[in-house]
């Protein structure tokens, strides 16, 4: 098995710049969740400068592409148009890791690299992730139900780096 690189949020520029495609990482600390419905709203709030009003700090953050329901969490496909189009603006706003599944486009891989951000994939291991999630809280847009913007406090979520430094694991 590969050696794991331990990461703690918020992620520093240095911790991200050392990552390369194929690395297995563990993530500990606070992370955000969002998918199709809410991420475009977060981009809009970022562009309008209202993230602070919503209680969101994206600097060094991780965004996990998942719903949060009584059944738990698990990655949705990150290459859905409404999710993948948020990679670049959210990276510019401070997000350092986008966490989901599926191959993303070459353009997105390049955009991530330009912002020193990465894409990591996480298997859909809901029970395991449930055992590694210690807190969950709705932060914004509660009207979206399980697709609201949530904060999770997690311990050692395991993921694999799929895009970093302009390279993709799917190349």
């Amino acid at each position: 098995m590969q050696k794991e690189i331990e990461l703690t949020t918020p992620l520093s520029e240095e911790s991200i710049s050392q990552l390369k495609v194929g690395d297995v990482v563990t993530i500990t600390g606070n992370i955000y969740t969002g998918r199709d419905a809410v991420l475009p709203k977060i981009v809009k709030a970022s562009q309008e400068g209202t993230l602070n009003d919503l209680g969101i700090d994206l600097q060094g953050s991780v965004i996990f592409h998942t719903a949060v329901s009584p059944a738990g969490v698990g990655p949705t496909s990150s290459n859905k148009v409404e999710i993948e189009c948020t990679f670049e603006p959210l990276s510019k706003a401070g997000v350092k890791m986008h966490l989901g599944k599926g191959a993303i486009s070459k353009e997105t891989v390049k955009a991530l690299s330009e912002q020193n951000a990465v894409f990591a994939i996480i298997p859909p291991v809901t029970a395991l992730l449930g055992s590694q999630t210690v807190e969950r809280e709705v932060i914004a847009f509660p009207e979206l139900g399980m697709e609201a913007f949530n904060r999770l406090k997690v311990v050692k979520y395991q993921a694999i780096i799929a895009a970093a430094k302009g390279e993709s694991i799917y190349d």
Binding site: S69, P70, A71, P124, V125, A127, L128, Y170
Partner: protein
């Protein structure tokens, strides 16, 4: 005495939270055989997840799936409207216990299509699929619950194959369809569920039966040939490459039409499927 509803509820929770032994062994065997380190890591995560889910009786995946019901009925047994009602109540109870992801779409025909009516917050509001009933020789009334997720439903395909009087032609077409489905599925390694019949309904029913009876440790020559050919594509778990894009194929070949066409139903089941459990009522 345990009620029918309680038996069904427990069966549903097991279906959504438990790997069978043949399933665990298939993963162990694939991990031992795989040379791609990243693919090994993915499969080990899936197996670890199964162990935690079984221990906690919690969902294997946050897409907990739509309950599909398969009822085997012996010659001396009877199915009443009352029994079917009890089964339906048990399904709702099980969905609340698991808990299932609240996925019941509210509203009229149009609202259910465009999802404008919102979701019911009650996990138990999710209606099961129509029940499939099969007469059997055994003196038994046995219910199998399958929890079928959305990803494989997106990638599944039921379509004709012009067989040209050759099994090879049919296998080749299944393999080609499977390669495309598996590569786009995301949550692999897969199990390929296949039904071959005379109509779309019959082929899909046979595919359901294949998922009900399929065993990772018992693979026919037909099933092995499909698995091996798809695995040559080197798609691998989560698309990361490797020898194990598909762990097994579960196929059921029914009666066939006297013509040049075969109807093939194919479902690339995700890494947790077929999520199933069985209970005698």
């Amino acid at each position: 005495m345990i009620s029918i509803q309680e038996k069904v509820a427990d069966c549903l929770v097991r279906a959504g939270s438990t790997f069978r032994e043949d399933q665990k062994n298939a993963y162990r065997k694939a991990i031992a055989d795989e040379t791609n380190v990243q693919s090994c890591w993915v499969m080990q995560q899936v197996l670890d997840n199964a162990i935690v889910a079984e221990d906690r009786r919690s969902p294997l995946c946050d897409d907990t799936g739509i309950p599909h019901l398969f009822l085997e009925v012996g010659k001396k047994r009877s199915v009443t409207g009352e029994l079917l009602g009890q089964i339906k109540e048990g399904v709702a109870m099980g969905l609340r216990q698991l808990p299932g992801r609240p996925m019941a779409i509210k509203g009229d025909d149009y609202a259910r299509i465009d999802q404008s009516g919102g979701l019911d917050e009650d996990s138990g509001a999710l209606a099961p699929s129509p029940i499939l009933i099969k007469p059997v020789e055994e003196d038994v009334l046995r219910l199998t619950i399958l929890m079928l997720g959305g990803g494989p439903a997106i990638r599944g395909i039921t379509q004709r194959v012009f067989h040209k009087h050759s099994v090879d032609v049919v296998i080749e077409e299944i393999v080609n369809r499977a390669k495309e489905g598996v590569s786009k599925l995301g949550c692999s390694p897969c199990v390929l569920a296949v039904g071959i019949g005379r109509s779309q309904f019959e082929a899909t029913s046979l595919m359901m039966e294949a998922m009900v009876y399929g065993d990772f440790s018992k693979q026919s020559d037909f099933e092995k040939r499909i698995t091996e050919k798809v695995n040559e594509a080197n798609i691998g778990p989560l698309g990361l490459g490797g020898k194990h894009s598909v762990l097994a194929t579960f196929a059921k070949i029914g009666p066939q039409r006297a013509s040049g066409v075969r109807i093939v139903a194919l479902r690339p089941c995700c890494c947790f499927e077929p999520r199933r459990a069985t209970i005698e009522l």
